[in-house]
């Protein structure tokens, strides 16, 4: 696997959407290629950052109360 092929599957790999064979090929390439490794680490960090920043927000308690009232008459 060359760098272009490796980077092409970058997000699929990070999203765990690749076949076991492809995953193995990518891991092998990453071990041998520090620049690709750095890029994968950067993108992986970005996805973790995104999730952490956006998941703090949940439904407001008032919405939940309103829902329970309308659904079950509480």
């Amino acid at each position: 696997m060359n760098c272009r092929e490796c980077v092409e599957h970058l997000y699929e790999f990070l999203d765990r959407e690749v076949t076991p064979e492809l995953e193995r090929d990518i891991r092998e390439h990453l071990e041998e290629c520090p620049p690709c490794g750095e890029q994968f680490d950067f993108e992986s960090l970005f996805l973790k950052f995104l999730r952490a920043r956006c998941r703090a927000q949940g439904a407001p308690p008032e919405l939940k109360r309103r829902l329970l009232r309308d659904l079950f008459g509480e």
């Binding site: 995104l50 407001p60 659904l71």
Partner: protein, 194 residues
Amino acid sequence: MTASAQPPPPVDEKRASFEREALVHLDTLYRVALRLTGNASDADDLVQETMLKAYRAWDQYEKGTNAKGWLLTILRHAFINEYRRRTRHPETVDLDTIEPFAVFGEIQEEDPQGAFFDRIVDDEVLRAIDALPEAFRETLVLSDVEGMSYQEIGKILEIPVGTVKSRLFRARQLLQGKLYDYAVNMGYIKGTPA
């Protein structure tokens, strides 16, 4: 302790299963609704409407399958039919003309660990997501915030998995570009002079 003479109240099975399988996804529905409508009041109404519709149709949902996906499909249809018209103007952006921007290439010398991300606050990230074209925004939120698989996303958005992949790629690159520009403007990183 005294034993209760009364038998326990009969369990309302419909309500119990709805609470167990549907209401547990309330936070997810709310977050997605907020990113779709762009404001808290419409997000409240959209979630409310989704849950009422879902409860009415609960008998049609096959218990123990993918309630989250089922609810999000209802939510998205409700959004398209009733909210999009008044909350956001229909997209006029040609998605294919949006050039992805490789942020890593710009910062690999200065900040390969992406430390500048840590200085960007939640609100700024949400604002940047809200500025994405709708098709990119909904794909990114389902994947990167709610952790759904390509296949689940394709089913909800009614698009092939290949389209999920390409939208996700472009959405992420676009979002990174926006956050990078913001970080440069704020002086968090030097960046590359234009």
